[in-house]
């Protein structure tokens, strides 16, 4: 596509390391292959905490309460959890939209700096795709303006028209010229979401953070948008962090999944492992209530507690089905569940934060 070469002059900004040619279409990009030698993860959160102070003497809300999470080049990670678990705050912290109270976010090994110039450069590389395309598009801007806005904000030189056309066609709106002068209300929900994605792609990011990318879309359109995210990864090596409450979505597109509960990641690992052989009781419960799960549903009572009042010990213990059934007590860990906090899981590989699972792993005979 002609637009691809025309856009390159615009991307030579931050150091020789970033001035890489786009991975050619077709053929999956090798993880770590784009941008030269990248040994570590693309984006990394280390001991991240985000605390919102309470108002009028209320206790502070620990929205993100110690999280390690790494996203490798070309990797799709699903961050799964219920509303209020802190997944959106974590995503915002990874984007530099919220300054963490403790811990650090680093991109390609370098810690994020929060100066406005540095953040602007960072946001070329890491783009946000919002949940509701009807709300995130300005109804009075044409598709062309919506997609070109990022280029204008970043003052990208080069052929704007070609860049917009290329981004639209990569997002699956073809031929792109037909969409230039359309307004959001003239488009269907799926097309609007593609416009939002094109707005992210136009800056040639290395990672996109998508917050519930298909939650507001019709069922038959949902699969098309997810297939687009997969294709962008395969063709451009684009990494993604997908924030969702939908485990089916994780099974559909993600490589790795991290399950978040009340500010912490309680279980993480490859999708096949976590979703077919879950080890944390919370993950087990989430999977058991899916239609067609084939297992006896474990319907947890109540709702996740307030992040301003995180219980001591294991933060899940008040709703834990293993503690309630006495399984934890017979394994001799009930006191630990109620009183001993669990270590923060590592950002890569597999892990589960559960006293019972840990005790079973120590004595495999039971």
């Amino acid at each position: 596509m002609s637009g691809e070469s025309a856009e390159k002059p615009g991307t030579t900004s931050k150091g020789a390391k970033d001035a890489k040619p786009r991975t050619p279409a077709g053929g999956r990009a090798e993880p770590g292959a784009d941008g030269g030698a990248l040994a570590g993860p693309l984006l990394d959160a280390d001991g991240l905490r985000v605390v919102f102070p309470g108002r009028h003497g209320a206790p502070a809300a620990r929205a993100v309460d110690g999280v390690n999470l790494s996203i490798g080049a070309g990797e799709i990670v699903a961050l799964v959890g219920e509303s209020g678990c802190g997944k959106t705050t974590l995503a915002r912290a990874l984007l530099g939209l919220v300054r963490p109270t403790a811990g650090a976010v680093s991109f390609r090994g370098a810690p994020l700096s929060y100066g406005s110039r540095a953040l602007r450069a960072y946001r070329r590389r890491v783009q946000l795709v919002l949940q509701d395309p009807s709300g995130s598009l300005n109804p009075r801007h044409t598709v062309y303006d919506a997609v070109a806005e990022g280029l204008r904000i970043h003052g990208s030189p080069g052929d704007e028209r070609a860049a917009v056309a290329s981004a639209l066609s990569r997002a699956g709106l073809r031929p792109p010229e037909r969409f230039f002068l359309r307004y959001p209300h003239e488009l269907s929900g799926g097309q609007r979401q593609r416009v939002v994605i094109a707005g992210a792609l136009v800056l040639d990011p290395q990672l996109i953070v998508a917050d519930e990318p298909v939650a507001s879309l019709d069922a038959s359109v949902r699969g098309e948008i997810l297939a687009l995210l997969l294709r962008l990864r395969d063709q451009l090596g684009l990494s993604a962090l997908v924030v969702t409450h939908d485990l089916g979505l994780a099974w559909n597109i993600a490589d790795r999944v991290a399950v978040m509960y009340l500010g912490r990641i309680v279980e993480a690992g490859p999708v096949e492992q976590v979703l077919t052989a879950p080890r944390h009781p919370y993950t087990k419960a989430l999977l058991s209530v899916l239609p067609e799960s084939g297992t006896e549903p474990v319907v947890l009572t109540g709702e996740p507690p307030d992040p301003a009042r995180i219980p001591g010990g294991c933060r899940f213990h008040a709703r834990c089905q293993h503690l309630a059934s006495g399984a934890a007590a017979s394994a001799g860990v009930a006191a630990a569940c109620r009183g001993t906090d669990l270590p923060v899981l590592p950002g890569t590989g597999t892990g589960v934060a559960c006293h019972l699972t840990a005790s079973r792993a120590a004595t495999p005979a039971t």
Binding site: E82, S83, S188, G189, G190, Q191, D218, A219, S220, V221, R222, G223, E224, I225, L226, A227, L230, H245, D246, L247, G248, L249, A250, W251, N252, I253, V271, E272, L275, T276, A285, L286, L287, V289, L290, P291, E292, S293, P297, V299, L300, T301, E303
Partner: protein, 325 residues
């Protein structure tokens, strides 16, 4: 007698050249104690159908056909009779509990309102006591009745909506996307609650959703709607796992089963978008998106026809499929 019998229902918005057909000839039956799921995407007419059942549509909508509730036609009822039937004969659990509850009244008083209107209790105090009893039935402590809607979580608000729908012991409950905005665990809680209440009270349930997986898990029978018509109907599990109509099949495939190898890294969608009711394609309305369309599909709109025991589907392929077996 069937509880609900909808015959050849048409709903049109606007008139003349600007007329938009939202529901185009729907037949449905539902017996007491039965759960019927109505699936479809936005714009297919499923919410219009729900509102039409209790004559809740705004004036520009024109409704034609018959809606027999316990043998009595809702469309020809007097206003007085209709007022008696709303809440007591049939009630609706609307989607989006935040917008359906009154923000400036305590939830207990909102539940008590229909109880007083229908003279099930004559004093404020007795109606409130009854409302608190309903709250306990839906799993909320009676003391929460003093709360305003914004003080409750999404799941709790949905429970209040359900308590309100049950306030006058209706025979039929229509639940329009009752769990759409909720998390999976809260959704599971609400679905179990609805199932329990339907079984305990012998209510007929019409549940409307875009989520075929949830409907097939909860309901006995399923009807799939596309562009204002029912394109497939049958036992819920059979429709979900072995659809006869290509649209039902695509809708079922859009909800992946975690753990099934075929769904892994293979999200399945349907090219194109649901049609605009103002500009419906000719012939079978699904043919522009249909993976197995024939040339004749652009010309003739198929009617619902027999597709196995207790099943009907509106697709030209239905007969050929049966012959091949």
């Amino acid at each position: 007698m069937t509880l609900l019998d909808v015959r050849d229902l048409h709903v049109t918005y606007g008139t003349g050249a600007a007329a938009v057909p939202a529901v185009r000839g729907v037949d449905l039956t539902l017996a007491a104690g039965q759960k019927l799921g109505l699936a479809g995407e936005s714009g297919c007419g499923k919410s219009t159908l729900a509102l039409a059942l209790l004559r809740l549509l705004p004036r520009p909508a024109r409704v034609r056909g018959e809606i027999l509730l316990d043998g009595e036609d809702v469309l020809t009822m007097s206003w007085g009779r209709l007022r008696a039937v709303r809440w007591a004969g049939a009630s609706i659990v609307f989607q989006g509990a935040m917008h359906s509850l009154n923000a400036v009244h305590r939830v207990r008083d909102q539940i008590a309102e229909p109880i007083l209107l229908h003279r099930l209790e004559t004093s404020q105090a007795a109606a409130r006591r009854r409302a608190e009893g309903l709250l306990e039935q839906v799993g909320l402590p009676a003391a929460r009745g003093g709360a305003y809607p914004h003080e409750l979580s999404g799941g709790q608000r949905q429970r209040v909506m359900i308590a309100m729908a049950l306030a006058c012991d209706p025979r039929l409950v229509v639940a329009d996307e009752p769990t759409t905005a909720l998390d999976v665990m809260i959704q599971a809680q609400i679905l179990r609650l609805i199932e329990r209440l339907v079984a305990e009270h012998g209510i007929g349930l019409l549940m409307i959703s875009h989520d075929l997986a949830v409907l097939s898990d909860t309901c006995d029978r399923l009807a799939v709607m596309y562009a204002g018509r029912i394109v497939e109907e049958g036992p819920a599990q059979r429709v979900f796992t072995a659809a006869e109509h290509p649209y039902s099949g695509a809708l079922a495939a859009a909800f992946p089963t975690v753990g099934r190898a075929a769904d892994r890294r293979a999200p399945q969608g349907l090219p194109g978008d649901p049609p605009d009711p103002a500009r419906l394609p000719g012939g079978c309305t699904f043919h522009p998106r249909c993976p197995v369309a024939l040339e004749t599909c652009a010309a003739d709109e198929p009617r619902l026809r027999e597709a196995g025991p207790g099943r009907r589907a509106a697709c030209v392929h239905v007969d050929s499929v049966k012959e091949a077996r």
